[in-house]
Amino acid sequence: MDLFLQQVANGLIIGSTYAVVALGFALAFTVLRVINFAHPEVFMVGMFAGLVAGALYPAGGFLFAILMGALAAGVVGFLIERTVIKPLRGRDVLSTLIGTLGVAIMLQNGMAIIAGPDPVAYPTLLPRKMVDIGPVVLTMRQLTNFGVCILLLGFVSFYVRATKLGRATRAIAERPDVAAAFGINVGLVCTVTIVIASMMGGVAAVSVGTLYGSAWAFVGLLYGLKAFTCMLVAGNRYFEGVMVVGLGIGIIEALVTGYISSSLKDAVAFFVLIGVLYFRPNGLFGSYSQ
């Protein structure tokens, strides 16, 4: 039973990261109908920005690094939106995928030239401390990562339901033409959406970098495909659904690692995807019609 609880806790922590990256995909896909494959690379840029901030100004601590990570990711996200995603809006979804993938290749290899192709050690931003919660033992960093991700998820939920821009976001997701006819500035909302998604990715990236103690130019590959799968499993109708699926897939992965074998864990998300899409072609929680 202790092993079970421990694995569930570990799963929640990794799953919360999946959920944040998946939300970045979901926001871009729902609002702009663009599959933003550059998003995991924006995550990577945020991670390195946090690393530089933490190394240059250690007195700022974790919060300063997170701030810098969000800022850098937001700027990169904004630039990508202006140059590539905006012209691709309204195109066939696959060309958006290929276009943003080109950007992803550039970012990955650009960072590999700057930082080297191997993982780089992260500055120590949080103390190494164990925390006991009942039968479960977690590190301080794990808890912080979980807290940061849950805060981000809560923020998105609040944003899309309670703010004016957020409601406009959902209106555009439902019917872009009608939303525009009601006076919503579609272009502005799209830009804001991408920037918000990017900044969220940046924040999560710094906390993940601190958690594992390293940053890597190809880290986007680890999270990108799985987060993308989470979005497909959930469907894009409810952002909360994406969060639940992200956490769920994290938990299942951790359980598979604990009870069966760690090499099978990467397949979990994909088996779940095939199963869910076969029986519920619109995702677990439904999708907007295309």
Binding site: V84, I105, N109, L277, G283
Partner: protein, 306 residues
């Protein structure tokens, strides 16, 4: 010089074969994102047959093609009910699941890859394979089945109403495309001499989709051009050293932004295309004016010229 060019030449030919298989698959509107996985099934099977069972190379290739067809039909059945774009992406999961299966199966080497394959592939093998693939694609493109497949791609409901069987056609296109891909995988396995589970992954498949969209999906020559250019490009960019992948990404982005329909498009007049006096695309009946025709193209088809 020759030894430097040979691998590039062989890999270009193999890319052409696989992208043609993908082109046939994509013709009926379902873009398979499991190209590498199907090629991997062919590669693993042929490797098992030649190394563990002692078969000859040619029958192993044929069996690989057959295995590819079987996988293709299974994939077609799984995705048959799925129509929206998102659901085409189930094929991603299919490929990844196969990759993980290969990863955990010790009989075929597991994570250590399948090694010990004898080198059998020569340039001639690749050339013959590519020519056969080109011929098959060319014939299929101009056949009744090819037209029916394109009708389904452009408007499934209208095509079904005209008596085209959607399920049957998707099975045919998936099976035919996957056969070519499986054969290409087998040939590749006997050139690279190693089959690793990573070769089945999504990012390898994505290369072929980039070839397809880069070259243009409207004719069979677009994907061929895309495969040739993009396989040779990273080699041609070698002088740029570590920056070549950045340039590669930049070129892909620019082409997608500036020429969304791909490099090569169909002539809108319905005339047969000629190259040095040879007809390279079959004669087709006069078509409706561009603006009428394009109303039905939901995706993957021609973009109206403004």
């Amino acid at each position: 010089m020759y030894s430097f060019l040979e691998p590039i030449f062989i890999f270009t030919l193999l890319s052409i074969m696989q992208v043609l298989g993908l082109y046939i698959t994509a013709m009926s509107g379902q873009l398979s994102m499991a190209t590498a996985a199907i090629a991997g099934v062919g590669a693993y099977l042929s490797a098992i047959l030649t190394v563990k069972m002692g078969w000859g190379f040619p029958p192993a290739i044929l069996m690989a093609g057959l295995a590819g067809a079987v996988v293709g039909v299974v994939l077609a059945f799984i995705t048959l009910r799925m129509r929206d774009f998102i659901l085409k992406l189930t094929t991603i999961a299919f490929g990844e699941a196969l990759a993980v299966l290969a990863f955990n199966w010790d009989y075929i080497g597991g994570a250590n890859s399948f090694t010990g394959i004898a080198p059998q592939t020569t340039i001639v093998t690749c050339l013959v394979g590519t020519l056969v693939a080109l011929y098959v694609t060319w014939r299929f493109d101009g056949s009744r089945l090819g037209f029916a497949a394109r009708a389904i791609r452009d408007d499934p409901i209208a095509a079904t109403a005209m008596g085209v069987s959607l399920g049957q056609l998707r099975c045919v296109t998936f099976a035919l495309g996957a056969t070519i891909i499986g054969i290409a995988g087998a040939i590749q396995a006997h050139y690279v001499l190693v089959v690793s589970p990573h070769d089945l992954g999504f990012f390898v498949s994505l290369n072929f989709i980039i070839f397809l969209l880069f070259g243009g999906i409207q004719t069979m020559w677009g994907p061929v051009l895309g495969a040739i250019l993009l396989t040779a490009l990273p080699e041609a960019l070698r002088f740029a050293k570590e920056y070549r992948l950045i340039v590669y990404g930049l070129i892909i982005v620019l082409v997608i932004l500036k020429r969304p329909q791909g490099l090569m498009t169909r002539t809108p007049t319905g005339r047969a295309k000629k190259l040095f006096g040879f007809i390279i695309s079959p004669e087709r009946p006069p078509q409706a004016p561009a603006h009428v025709k394009h109303e039905f193209n939901t995706e993957a088809g021609a973009q109206p010229k403004s």
